[in-house]
Amino acid sequence: MKKNSIKFLFLIFLFLFLGCNTSKTKGADTTIGKSRYSQWLSYTKTELGIKLFIKDPDRKGATRIILCTTHPEQVRSMSTTMEVLDIKNMKLATNAATHVGMLVSLNARECIGAVSLGKYLHDPTLKKRFNKGQLLELGGTTIPFESLSKKHINVWVSAGMEPLDQTKEERFKALGIQWIPNYDWREEHPLGKAEWLLFFGAITNRFEEAELQFNAICKRYNKFNKLPKGNSCQKILVGNFAGDYWYSPLQNSFQARFFNQVDFCTFSMNYRGTGSMAVGAERIYQEAEACELWLNPGFPTKQAILNAFPKAIQLRPFTEGSIFCYSHNLNKFWEQSALMPDIVLRDLIRIKQGNSADVMLYFYREVK
């Protein structure tokens, strides 16, 4: 009996030990990398640098593995499946404001060689550099290959909205430019989006700094998340009309995640999906009757809302409630919000608590 008990205890111990061991190795697995919140990015530290694993959200199983190193000559012959990125003299082009915000946060402004449009810049230092002609403007839809080469760009960080076709790939290769997709906009969790800071940390040789910043963001976000938020499931109106339809975020969308954390409810959050739901005017009129708060109409003033959508005057939050939006400074929002989900969350909590004077809010303002 005693022997059996010892055997049993030994088995439990073995089970627990293996269990703990498994979860530990999962985090440090060098073949898939680790991530805390991101769905599409994982990473691992190696002796030669940071290894990034970028999963393609549209192609199951397709993963780019990139080793970011300052010693590319030592690794080029080691693997054929892994790409090597020389991060010694990084000069990158980016076509997304969130990327710019993350690079600014890492104080890696000098690594930016090209941006989408100068008018979308928020950071004053970068604006100055742009006005002096030190930054290339990528402009519209065509890629200015020659200008990229002239500016000695070696990496194109793309928002990954359009896949890289063979012609473009060949041209990039010929110019010695590496095309790297960044799927931060496909993340559903606010901290998942912020985790892409580590991607920029890796490619600009500031990984430790990025880790520190990201850990601080997570800590603050989780702290704000624990704050009391007032009444549960407060009904709100979100979005605005585009053409004949009103677009409101679905349950698993990035926006809805924030609203969920704050216990805001909107009708479209009852439906699964990561995008938004299109509904007609009458439905919105009915939904608005139960709401006193309207978030993210996309315009900074009531007059601007009326110019675009005159029937807004029929919506209850417009006449009797309050409206909040981040549109008074869109450049700031797009550049910084991905990296400051904690502040977005804090703004929303304050709006919910009625603690919403302009000085109390960072991104949002009341629409008047």
Partner: protein
Amino acid sequence: MSQTKSHLILLFSAGVLLLVVLLLYLKTGYFNTTWEQIFQALTNPRDEVSSTVVWSFRLPRILMAFLAGAALSVAGMLMQNLFQNTLAGPDVLGITSGSSLLVALWMMTGITALGSITDLIFLGILGAMGMGAIMLLFALKLRSAVHLLLIGLMLSSFIGAIIAIIQASSATQDLQQYVFWNFGSLQRVTIQQIPWIAVITSLGVILSLFQVRVLNAMVLGEDIAKSLGVSIRKVRIMSILIAGILTGVITAFAGPIAFVGLAIPNVTKLLMKTQNHRVLLFSNILFGALFLGVCDFAIKLLESYVAIPLNALTALLGVPFVSWMILKNRHVTG
């Protein structure tokens, strides 16, 4: 049965159908409303949900659909007569683009001269007339219909390029407002704006009515029309002026709406089998209004299942029709 009788039957049927669409449209929607509530909302509006729904959402939208359909179809008829080309229409010849250009400039530069509604109407009409005049200059030089259409398409692209440049340098908010407008929507119009649009559209229709005699003469060709005492210069100016007014006012309020001005005048000719522009004018008004009313009703019915933008539906119906018409051109009168 005489042709006049068949015309009257067709026009009467279209009128009845228009009324049916209007009533069904007022009855159908997200809110369940009874006929009694609709009647009461129309005759004695109170501070009730049904009154708000009817007066704010349903009535202005369906009236705008009728006005837009009628106006664009009449504009299309005038363009086809002027250019002696069945493939002419306000959107094909770049007239809608001209309107879009000035509205875009106004929205994205924020310059206001006469007040928002007056500016919008004035610029919409001016842009449409400007492009109409440019197209007319080309029409005087070019005999080939294909060349003229190519010029129309190129000018539309040219204007598109100018708008793209304006967009690149405009503030994000202004750009957003323009993008929303450019989607094309019957929903945006309020009941207070409907009288403005109705008066201007009626003005265009009345002016067209005065043109009927010369439009009929133009069908015989410019030389014969001249010999009948028609001043070609005056016809051209009037046609462009009227088409500009009609297209401009609709585009200003509802955004660019495609294919109605091209398809409906041709459908009308096929159905009415006549070149009498008095008949064609009234037919275009009724068929155009009916077409866009039915399109919008379909959009509303399908709203809970699928979101179909207005321009997507008009294009879905218009493109196959125009393609068929090009292939079977011999079936088209004129």
